[in-house]
């Protein structure tokens, strides 16, 4: 998994590095021979469906979970067997885990007080953090007397006060309501911009990942499915899993026959008789006769049924008007496909329509799911 330069540019030294790590719980393999590098100062999101091993991976970086095989490096130093507190890593838990018997001030200063910092230093650093997070008015309240968003900020403050080099977040926003989540998302982005610290962020919400991260790691059953910037993942998914997981509504997959490959362009036969020409990476083996064509809903457009450009033809099953756009579910010989049309589409269900395909944006996947 070679490093893909972060969007921020600049020297991107590997900060956190996992080499061929595996985590087993008895017979369950949560993480399977996974290699990953995270650059200094980057905001990396770990994305994937529930149970794919995101939390496990994060907790291994934190040192909360023993690594069954493989190594973990921080700044080039092997920390595989180093205790969590000695890693200069801070973690924000999904449940916040604020100590209920301590005030905001005590919660934030707890790690300093454990480290034996002087009262003065504790005070100064607590105030500095409270100022950044706008918690100054709540310093003497206990967690039970704070709102969800304030608790979230205290949890971040507790991480911040230690001046860690790496921040780990495990679904930090999932306990907040939708509006607060958007607000906190912006605050996190701001925080990252000011601190320039390395942040690793677990989520199963792709909007969060796409908006916050400059690099996304998609996990599938304990393995890395793809690493890349948000747009890379969206436009050039490495496999069917990533293609299906990223984007909403999900990508359409059409069974196609492969007729010819020439100069990086494959000609495929679509169900219903038309053909399409799709760019492919290498030269796929001639043996690959069938494949799946992945087309995002916004890369299909409605045309009249007998239009010469119509790659597919079908009957509209459901129309969903969302105001700014319209989603159409069209039954075609290739199965039901979802089409994203403009807001003012006047098609009704039962109408027969043609669908034209933006070939430049379509992707071809082999039988094993890998992008061709």
């Amino acid at each position: 998994m070679s490093a893909i330069p972060g969007n921020k540019g600049g020297a991107a030294a590997p900060h956190v590095e996992l080499r061929r790590v595996t985590k087993r719980y008895g017979v369950v393999t949560a993480i399977n021979d996974l290699t990953l590098t995270v650059e200094k100062g980057s905001f990396t999101a770990l994305l994937g469906p529930s149970g794919c091993g995101k939390s496990t991976l994060l907790r291994m970086i934190a040192g909360l979970e023993r690594i069954s095989a493989g190594q973990c490096f921080l700044d080039g130093v092997d920390v595989t067997d180093v205790a969590p507190a000695k890693r200069r890593i801070a973690m924000v838990f999904q449940s916040y885990a604020l100590y209920p018997h301590m005030t905001t001030r005590q919660n934030i200063a707890f790690s300093l007080s454990l480290a034996g910092a002087s009262r003065k230093e504790q005070d100064e650093r607590t105030h500095e953090v409270a100022r950044i997070l706008q918690l100054e008015d709540y310093l003497d309240r206990r967690p039970a007397e704070l709102s969800g968003g304030q608790r979230q900020r205290v949890a971040i403050g507790r991480a911040l006060v230690r001046h860690p080099e790496v921040f780990l977040f495990d679904e930090p926003l999932s306990n907040l309501d939708a509006k607060l989540r958007v607000q906190m998302r912006l605050e996190l982005a701001k925080l990252h911009a000011t601190l320039h610290a390395t942040m690793i962020y677990v989520t199963h919400d792709q909007t969060e990942a796409m908006t916050l991260a400059d690099k996304i790691v998609v996990l599938d059953r304990g393995r890395v499915a793809q690493v890349g910037s948000p747009l890379e993942l969206y436009n050039r998914p490495a496999n069917k899993f990533v293609a299906a997981f990223i984007g909403s509504p999900s990508m359409n997959f059409l069974p196609v026959g492969l007729t010819a490959v020439e100069g990086g362009i494959a000609t495929v036969a679509l169900p219903g008789g038309r053909t399409a020409r799709v760019r492919v990476g290498g030269a796929p083996a001639k043996a690959v006769a069938t494949a799946e064509l992945g087309v995002r809903p916004e890369h299909l457009s409605l045309v009249v049924a007998d239009d010469a450009n119509a790659a597919l033809r079908g009957e509209v099953a459901i129309v969903e008007h969302l105001g700014n756009l319209t989603l159409l579910y069209v039954d075609t010989p290739a199965g039901q496909v979802i089409v994203e049309g403009p807001g003012n589409v006047s098609v009704r269900s039962g109408d027969t329509v043609g669908l034209s395909l933006r070939e430049a944006n379509a992707r071809l996947f082999g039988a094993d799911g890998a992008s061709l």
């Binding site: 934190a62 205790a83 973690m91 838990f93 454990l114």
Partner: protein, 295 residues
């Protein structure tokens, strides 16, 4: 009645519920009165003992029932405070009960934490041992406790009174259960913050379960204060007695003096009664816990 159950939001027919309500009131009133009467009966011996202490001895032995002293006096209290060693017994009780409470709570919290949170060889054995000692009747051990204490030279000393009271498996069990139920995120957060196991115990686990500690400390203290059999066996000199045993010794000193006997008893009960009245909720909670009901 059945039709109202089917159509729950329809207004019930007027006649029957009214009859039912009147029945309910009558029955309820009878039960309430009986309960309150029962409470009065239950409290009466305590009241009667207390009020007797404020009567002069001559009035006490007069025939007739007087619920309030005709000549209110503190003479009985004054006498026992001056003439008995109750002040010293108080100190002994305080010292021994306090020591038992502190040692039991610290030991139980530490052991409960280790068994709940740490992996170490022998953990299961210790846990089984604690559960087993739950079933051992301490009075069955009096003979060998006495032998052991005399080997230590601790007979007739305060530490000799304290030592055998330190076996408190229930306290360990309760702590373990409460520590088990602390979400592991707290532990992990504190570990990331750099806490070691001792800091985890004393700065996270114990303070988070402060209520339990108070409850257990109070009930341990009351139990130690009230203990009769062991201090009665272990102590032979009047100077080392605790209050609960001490008050049974004054009888011999005065001859029969009802007012004084009772006054000294009331003094013995006073501290625990005050503790109970202040910490009612905690005492209740501790009793539920020790009976195996988590509340």
């Amino acid at each position: 009645m059945t039709d109202t159950a089917l159509v729950s939001d329809a207004p019930p027919p007027a006649a029957r519920p009214l009859v039912r309500l009147r029945q309910l009131d009558l029955f309820g009133a009878v039960v309430t009165l009986a309960t309150l009467a029962g409470a009065v009966v239950w409290a009466f011996p305590l009241y009667w003992g207390l009020v007797t202490t404020f009567k002069p001895e001559t009035e006490i032995v007069q025939p007739g029932v007087h619920l309030w002293p005709q000549n209110f006096t503190f003479e009985n209290y004054a006498h026992v405070l001056m003439q008995t060693k109750i002040g010293l017994w108080y100190v002994n009780s305080l010292v021994t009960s306090g020591a038992v409470t502190v040692i039991v709570v610290v030991m139980a919290a530490a052991a409960g934490y280790a068994i709940s949170q740490l992996e170490f060889p022998g953990r299961r054995v210790f846990w089984a041992m604690i559960l087993a000692s739950f079933m051992v009747p301490i009075p069955a051990l009096i003979v060998n406790h006495f032998v052991l204490m005399s080997q230590f030279g601790w007979i007739n000393t305060l530490q000799g009174v304290v030592a055998p009271q330190l076996i408190a498996p229930v306290t360990v069990i309760i702590y373990k259960q409460f520590f088990d139920s602390v979400p592991k995120d707290f532990r992990e957060a504190a570990v990331m913050d750099g806490a070691n196991d001792f800091q985890l115990l004393f700065r996270i686990y114990l303070p988070m379960n402060w209520g339990i500690t108070t409850a257990l400390a109070i009930i341990t203290f009351i139990g130690a204060w009230n203990l009769f059999l062991w201090p009665f066996l272990a102590v032979s000199s009047e100077e080392k007695l605790n209050v609960a045993v001490g008050i049974t010794q004054v009888h011999d000193a005065f001859g029969v003096q009802y007012g004084r006997d009772l006054a000294v008893a009331m003094l013995a009960a006073l501290p625990v009664a005050i503790v109970y009245l202040i910490f009612q909720r905690r005492v209740t909670q501790a009793i539920m816990l020790s009976a195996g009901i988590k509340g």
